[in-house]
């Protein structure tokens, strides 16, 4: 199949406007007969389900948690971007567009990203109207902060809980529609199959996680808003339940998978503390506004950080990237931390950590301002620190508390220890401009699709994309498909396609239960994660990737011989849920390695050691790889590669530089 991105014709700034005024619509009477399934209730899913229901479609929404409000979006900390230019610092739609394309190392589509930048401003309006309590200035206007990879202040936030507040806004809109009877909500349900009839998505099979029953649902269109697959690495900042199952089943039903190896490793996370570690905790990028990153200049320096004098500290980001300093994009900051730790400069018990230090800004930036505000002349260091601590507490208090809770160290007194961790997946289901996958009627929104972030996502842009997709893009783009479906009557779920899909799901479940081996699902997940982290993580090379592929295949084989899944399929059985998810990760991991192996260049978060500049920066190959890899699943764990060429008409592509 030839990949058609369906980007509208015309100048970049007019594409979306033109699309909006020409896209076919569905009239209100017909909307009532059209059913839409929304799988996932994070920012993308909740906003889509609410908006589509408001428009009059019949919506069913699904999530695996006990409430739609608990989707992983709830955990986003730092903020959401929008080109409002409220700070009068020269921001614009074009600048946000430009920053996002450049930040993504020129591997995202111009048309999609420009649209994202255009609708970004309406997102903030919508959220404020819902009562989302963003941070404000004394005059009552909205407050902004900076994030990496930009030189303007365009990030809106609610302390360190921006995702929570945005999701609760979208959730309240969703629950309003549930209350009005326009959305039927299925919580504790996990989608395990997409049902296709004559090539079109016509519904899903979902497992009721409380009773274990497989249930069938028909719809005219299916929207997957199921989040990212960072948990393929076992340890990540994602929630424990985040998984690839929905996207993977869609992939097997014909949806191509875009750039699977594009993974974001976030530079500032709390380091691993022991073998029992179950997940990693992010320390928001917003902390890099005020925290300076350093390691000792001496290798294996065991002194307490507060005993290391200024001139014996290496502020390596400020040294290497003077223009952006501590605010370089994530991929660059992560690799720089790895480089220092691999070189023997790491700190902490494991030596796999660097310092994130607030003292300087607490005293010199905030302490001094506060002192002058309170007319304190010649404040001593202790006063500056005390005043500065109060400001920092207000800005990041919850993050500092979280850090202390986990490490038992007080970051107001001692610098934080941080290390990169898997955080986000730019890759995902391939979608066109309408957010439709290669299966007609099957859409992917939010982190589940591959669309807007290229090879590296800028901070505060995932929340923006999720809400853009759900509130403003899908409500319009879905019309171009559903307007052709108004004559399709609801198909009874006794149809053979539903029978067959349910049978497939059931066979998988019975298989897991019957293996009756000796190893827990968790142990396989850990082992897979380690392979992925070591060989398909921050740095990749041909040899390692080939080894990883062989190791994953062997592990998968072992899983199907030796895994033990206790309990039955007729009850609440979290181990069985986990078995299905890990089985899918065991396949996805292989595809990620194949993807990384085939992309013979470095770009953004994808760093192939064979392709780097003399200074150790990523070396792109625009001649051969200015494209999207879209993988088609052909038969059991075999794939065929398709490529979508990327065209840059409005941005001159260059070597990305933050020096």
């Amino acid at each position: 199949m030839k990949l058609e991105s369906k980007i509208p014709e015309g100048p970049i700034s007019e594409k979306w406007t033109k699309f909006k005024s020409t896209v076919p619509l569905v009239n209100p009477a017909n909307k009532r007969h059209l059913e839409i399934i929304v799988v996932g209730t994070g920012l993308a899913g909740a906003s889509a389900a609410a908006s589509l229901a408001e428009m009059g479609y019949k919506v069913s929404a699904f999530c695996f948690q006990d409430s739609p409000r608990r989707a992983h979006s709830i955990a986003a900390q730092g903020g959401i971007n929008a080109a409002k230019n409220y700070q009068n610092d020269g921001d614009s739609v074009f600048r946000l567009f430009y920053d996002t394309i450049k930040g993504g190392d020129y591997r995202a589509r111009e048309g999609n990203v420009h649209r994202l930048a255009e609708v970004s401003t309406s997102i903030i309006d919508q959220c404020v109207a819902q009562g989302v309590p963003f941070a404000r200035e004394y005059g009552g206007t909205l407050s902004n902060r900076s994030f990496g990879g930009t030189q303007v202040q365009r990030t809106f936030y609610a302390a360190g809980q921006t995702g929570q507040q945005l999701l609760l806004g979208a959730y309240s809109a969703l629950e309003r529609q549930v209350g009005l009877g326009n959305v039927k909500m299925y919580n504790r349900h996990e989608m395990v199959e997409v049902v296709t009839i004559e090539g079109k998505a016509r519904g899903i099979i979902a497992r009721n996680l409380v009773t274990g029953k497989l249930e069938r649902f028909f719809s005219h269109a299916v929207l997957l808003c199921t989040g990212g697959y960072g948990n393929v690495f076992y340890l990540s900042t994602n929630a424990m339940g985040s998984n690839v199952t929905a996207a993977w089943k869609a992939h097997k039903a014909g949806a191509y998978f875009g750039n699977p190896c594009f993974t974001q490793i976030h530079p500032t996370c709390i380091p691993v503390s022991g073998h029992y570690q179950s997940k990693l905790t992010l320390m928001s990028e917003s902390l890099r506004n005020d925290g300076r990153i350093w390691v000792p200049k001496k290798q294996n320096d065991d002194r307490h950080p507060n005993d290391i004098p200024e001139d014996e500290r290496d502020y390596y980001l400020e040294r290497r990237y003077p223009a952006f300093g501590n605010l370089v994009p994530r991929d660059i900051a992560s690799r720089a931390a790895k480089e220092r730790c691999d070189g023997g400069y790491g700190v902490g018990p494991s030596k796999m950590a660097v310092y994130l230090d607030f003292k300087y800004n607490m005293m010199q930036k905030y302490g001094r301002t506060e002192a002058s505000k309170h007319n304190i002349e010649n404040p001593d260091d202790a006063t500056l620190l005390r005043l500065g601590q109060e400001v920092v507490k207000e800005k990041y208090g919850n993050l500092f508390d979280m850090y202390k809770q986990i490490t038992d160290e007080d970051p107001y007194e001692v610098p934080m220890r941080i290390y990169p961790a898997v955080h986000y997946t730019m890759g995902g289901l391939w979608v066109d401009y309408n957010l439709m996958t290669t299966v007609p009627g099957l859409y992917a929104l939010g982190e589940a699709n591959f669309s807007d972030h290229g090879a590296n996502r800028l901070g505060a842009s995932a929340l923006m994309q999720g809400l853009a997709d759900g509130y403003f893009v899908i409500p319009l783009t879905i019309g171009s498909y559903l307007s052709g479906e108004i004559h399709t009557k609801a198909i009874p779920t006794t149809h053979e396609a539903f029978e067959a899909a349910e049978k497939r799901a059931n066979e998988r479940i019975q298989n897991f239960l019957n293996i009756n081996g000796t190893r827990s699902v968790e142990s396989y997940h850990r082992e897979l994660g380690l392979i992925m982290w070591n060989k398909c993580g921050m740095a990749r090379n041909e040899k390692g990737l080939n080894e990883a592929i062989a190791e994953i295949r062997a592990l998968r084989e072992d899983f199907y011989k030796n895994v033990r899944v206790p309990g039955t399929d007729k009850e609440f059985n979290p181990e069985l849920d986990k078995a299905g998810r890990v089985a899918d990760f065991l396949e996805l991991g292989e595809l990620m390695c194949i993807d990384a192996l085939n992309r013979n260049e470095s770009c953004g978060g994808h760093f192939r050691e064979e392709f780097q500049t003399e200074e150790g920066e990523a070396l792109r190959d625009d001649e051969n790889y200015k494209n999207v890899f879209a993988w088609e699943h052909t038969e059991n764990n075999k794939w065929e590669l398709h490529k979508e060429e990327l065209v840059y008409e409005n941005i001159k592509i260059q070597q990305r530089s933050y020096k």
Binding site: I74, A75, T141, L142, E175, G274, S520, F572, N573, P574
Partner: protein
């Protein structure tokens, strides 16, 4: 690495909603830096290894924000420490050799699903009854057209940080949901956006709360003391005031 420690657990086991439950005893090798839920992971790994059924418990984010985790530990929802969730508790809060009793939330409106997992959908239904601002997508004015003084915005934010975990209900001898409902009502009554539905909202939410079988509030204050987000008791006074006002206006 820190020294290892051993704890004895008495864990509530209940096969399903209908079944009778009982406590089972286990002992687990752990260490002070392990989180409480990681200690449960170790226990479950052990149980699976021994061919037994692992303990079912709810959790997801494991960083105190999703509101999914929910264990009553030695009689306290979310354990002995203040202002944290179960998933944020670490074993360093216990001593070697301690016996720890772990139970699910207990309330009629939160039936047990299995072991330590309960059904909290009643909270969703309360929000669906009125915990929102009725504004369809696309109907918003420019965000800075709505000016909100910083102190009001901050107060609304504090109330909005409720994670919907249900510890307040579990802590209350009456299983009252006033703190949860009060938090949402307070957030939306403070903000200009919430004004047009201010009175109908509070009445609808309180009616739904009663219909779900949550108890009445007798001002014991246990809810706020156990709330991981420190939602203050003042939201309950706000709720009462808002409700009375609406009722006086005949809503």
């Amino acid at each position: 690495m820190k020294h290892s420690m051993k704890v004895n657990l008495q864990v509530w086991r209940q096969k399903n909603t209908q079944a009778q439950g009982n406590f089972e005893n286990y002992s687990v090798e752990t260490n002070p830096d392990m989180s409480f839920l990681e200690m449960f992971d170790v226990l479950n790994e052990q149980l699976i290894h021994d061919g037994k059924e692992p303990v079912a418990f709810d959790h997801d984010c494991r960083e105190g924000i999703c509101g999914m985790c929910s264990m009553v530990i030695n009689g306290n929802p979310h354990g002995p420490k203040q202002a944290i969730t179960t998933c944020q508790l670490h074993m360093r809060s216990f001593n070697d050799g301690d016996t720890i009793v772990v139970e699910p939330w207990r309330a009629n409106a939160f039936p047990v699903i299995k072991d330590l997992s309960v059904n909290r959908s009643s909270f969703d239904r309360i929000i669906a009854s009125g915990g929102f601002v009725s504004v369809n997508t696309g109907n918003a004015v420019d965000a800075n057209n709505i000016l909100i003084p910083k102190d009001i915005a901050d107060e609304a934010f504090e109330a909005a940080t409720c994670i919907g975990c249900g510890a307040c209900v579990s802590a209350c001898i009456n299983a009252s949901a006033m703190l949860f409902v009060g938090a949402k009502v307070t957030q939306l009554s403070l903000l200009p956006q919430g004004q047009s539905e201010r009175q109908s909202r509070v009445v609808a939410m309180v009616n739904q709360m009663d219909a779900e079988g949550f108890g009445a509030c007798t001002n014991t204050g246990a809810c706020s003391a156990e709330c991981p987000k420190g939602i203050p008791l003042s939201v309950i006074s706000t709720l009462n005031r808002e409700y009375t006002k609406a009722k006086l206006n005949g809503i």
